[in-house]
């Protein structure tokens, strides 16, 4: 069964996970993910210095030190960017490694001092350790997490506006810079309170992975935040549980492993934005395009002999479609399944009445499209977007009418559609 100690730790890490997930979603949207990583690494020297000053292990003091040096790291990054020609990514790289290096050296120096070394346990802040958490630590971490959650709930609208369009926010009179600063501060708090459990090296993962994974599942900010918090919470709990179970393993890497699973599942299986859904949409689109193109080829081949004959031999289709036999066969099967063509004898195909009408519509759209691109390219912008829509639905009727009349004057309007068979 779960012991009291484990329960305390689980509550702590779940609150921690939820708040980093929630705040991390904003870090992802505001494109501050790397900044979060630098912040976590830059926190280490402050942690050590705070320990040296206080002289004993006190979580609030150490985390406060970590917070200050994390903020100092961010300050150095934006200073380097503003006052020198160093670009942001280089500045982040410099701060991250220099602060982290200094932190590791400091922690070793402390560790080697015989008087306090054993009490410090600073090593555990590098890769994280949940097992050592005591109730007091958890109250402290939990309290800060709750504070962050409350602020995010209260300022939902303000954060949304500033994250999306800070200039517009300023025109409305919002102190966009201060709101942004508050958001950055919350990110710093989330990072710092995660340090004991996850460690400086991997804290960025708990900040970024839930938000990045949540974005796959929804197109709404509110739902993304909820989902991100839920992901962070589950990742925290599962990671802690595994770490407690296999007590030789540091918690940070296990939390990241769990997070990776969440992320991979989202990346692959999310509807619409996931990779599998996307590749299926892509396939469906290509197939639809193939079917439409084949109908056009069909129609253009029989156009000179209409209305007497609507039969085409396989070889003729093959020579004009520039596809492999396999592709062509599968497209023909699709057309047959939709009753648009029928195989009259071996390897000879005839358009059905419905197939003929559909093919004529495709040919008309293709010719309208060609004409539009040639004569009125300024309208093309709007249509190029609706790749799967039929041409005549994406333009004002007056323009379609004019283009159709032009086709008729040139004698290239599909005859089938003129004979009173009705349009689509």
């Amino acid at each position: 069964m779960i012991s009291y100690n484990t329960l305390i730790v689980l509550i702590g890490t779940s609150l921690l996970g939820a708040s980093s997930g929630l705040i991390g979603a904003y870090a992802v949207l505001r494109q501050r993910s790397l900044t979060g990583d630098a912040l976590a690494h830059a926190a280490l020297p402050g942690l050590c210095i705070a320990f040296l000053i206080v002289g004993q292990r006190s979580l609030p003091a150490m985390l406060f030190g970590a917070f200050l040096s994390g903020i100092a790291g961010i300050g150095v990054i934006s200073g380097l960017r503003h006052w020198t020609r160093i670009k942001e990514d280089a500045a982040i790289g410099i701060v991250l490694s220099v602060f982290f290096g200094a932190g590791v050296v400091l922690s070793r120096l402390i560790q080697n001092r015989s008087d306090v070394g054993s009490k410090a346990g600073l090593e555990s802040y590098i890769l994280g350790k949940t097992a050592g958490m005591i109730a007091q630590d958890v109250y402290f971490i939990g309290g800060l997490s709750l504070g962050c959650l409350v602020i995010i709930l209260l300022l939902y609208k303000e954060f949304q506006l500033v994250a999306f369009d800070p200039a517009f926010a300023r025109v409305q009179g919002w102190p966009a810079f201060l709101i942004d600063l508050l958001m950055m501060t919350l990110i710093a708090v989330a990072v710092v309170i995660g340090l004991p459990a996850v460690g400086v090296v991997l804290m960025a993962a708990l900040l970024i992975i839930p938000g990045a994974a949540a974005r796959f599942w929804t197109e709404r900010l509110g739902r993304m935040l909820l989902l991100s918090a839920a992901f962070g919470l589950s990742i925290g709990i599962l990671g802690t549980f595994l770490s407690a179970r296999y007590s030789m393993m540091p918690a940070g890497p296990l939390i990241v492993v769990v997070g990776t699973v969440f992320f991979l599942v989202s990346l692959l299986f999310a509807p619409r934005r996931g990779m599998i859904a996307r590749s299926m949409q892509e396939r469906r689109f290509r197939r639809q395009l193939g079917v439409r193109r084949l109908l056009q080829v069909f129609y253009e081949f029989i156009e000179p002999t209409l209305p007497d004959s609507t039969v085409v031999a396989y070889e003729d289709l093959f020579s004009r479609t520039f596809r492999t036999e396999r592709e062509l066969n599968s497209l023909l099967k699709a057309l047959e399944a939709d009753c648009l063509i029928e195989e009259t004898e071996r390897r000879r195909y005839r358009l059905t009445a419905e197939g003929l009408r559909r093919a004529a519509v495709e040919v008309r759209d293709q010719r309208l499209w060609d004409l539009l691109l040639r004569e009125h390219p300024e309208h093309a912008v709007e249509i190029a977007h609706f790749d799967t829509d039929h041409f005549s639905k994406s333009l004002p009727a007056s323009i379609v009418n004019q283009l159709e009349n032009e086709l008729k004057e040139r004698g290239i309007y599909p005859q089938v559609l003129l004979g009173g068979r009705g349009e689509d």
């Binding site: 506006l161 369009d165 517009f168 409305q172 929804t218 709404r220 912008v381 709007e382």
Partner: protein, 254 residues
């Protein structure tokens, strides 16, 4: 309505716009026109307090910007935001109401109804649930316009609302601007297409880092003033204009 006095803006101590003086007494549809790099967007941002003034003052109805923010509507350049941001069309338009809502209050049924009305005015009523990234460029531009309408402003500032939109959207936008003017609002539009200036605007501001002229279109939009504004570049523009005019007659009939 608007008084811009002796405004200079500098980036890194290098002035981008110099000593601009501009007044508008009554509702007008104002086109801000000038070559690339003339500082048109910078002027707009200076008026809106988005870039620091090196010198000069801006007042709205005789009072400083900080007291008049509720009277101002803003349409930024379309490229200025990340369109993959997870909000719906309606959410984006609702942001226009945030200024009047103030801290902590969330938009309610009234704001929603009003935002829908604004969406309807730009012809996007049936797309309110779409994520903003799933719109075409012209539709995105109209979302920004609806958001500015939702601000219930008296003076609107628009940064190239016609850039990269299709002809249909352009005419929707201008019908809307004209009706705003008729409702007594002033509209400032940074505009890049010289051909349409006389058709669209009743007041023109010509500038090239400094102010060349500001006044009714008929008086200000003249060949020699354009020559002063564009310098040698106008010759090329004229040649291109000729070429376009010779074949755009068909387009006008559409």
């Amino acid at each position: 309505m608007l008084d811009v006095h002796d405004v200079t803006v500098a980036y890194h101590r290098k002035p981008v716009i110099w000593n601009i003086d501009l007044t508008l007494e009554e509702p007008r549809l104002v086109g801000i026109v000038g070559p690339n790099g003339a500082g048109k967007s910078t002027l707009l941002k200076a008026i809106l307090g988005l870039v620091p003034l090196a010198s000069g003052t801006v007042t709205f109805y005789g009072r400083p910007l900080s007291e008049q923010r509720k009277l101002i509507g803003y349409v930024p350049q379309r490229e200025s935001v990340d369109w993959d941001f997870p909000v719906s069309v309606l959410d984006a338009v609702l942001m226009g109401t945030y200024g009047r809502l103030g801290w902590f209050r969330r938009p309610g049924a009234n704001e929603r109804a009003w935002a829908r009305e604004c969406l309807d005015r730009v012809g996007l009523a049936d797309l309110e649930r779409r994520q903003i990234g799933q719109l075409s460029g012209g539709q995105q531009q109209r979302v920004f316009l609806a958001r500015a309408l939702a601000q219930r402003a008296e003076i609107y500032f628009m940064d190239e609302p016609m850039a990269g939109v299709d002809a249909a959207t352009e005419s929707i936008i201008f019908d809307l601007l004209r009706s705003l003017r008729n409702e007594g609002k002033a509209v400032f539009v940074v505009h890049h297409d010289l051909r349409t200036v006389p058709r669209y605007f009743d007041h023109v501001v010509l500038m090239n880092m400094r102010l060349i002229a500001s006044g009714p279109t008929g008086e200000v939009f003249t060949a020699d003033r354009l020559q002063t504004t564009y310098g040698g570049r106008l010759a090329i523009l004229e040649a291109a204009g000729e070429a376009v005019r010779s074949r755009s007659t068909g387009h006008d009939q559409l």
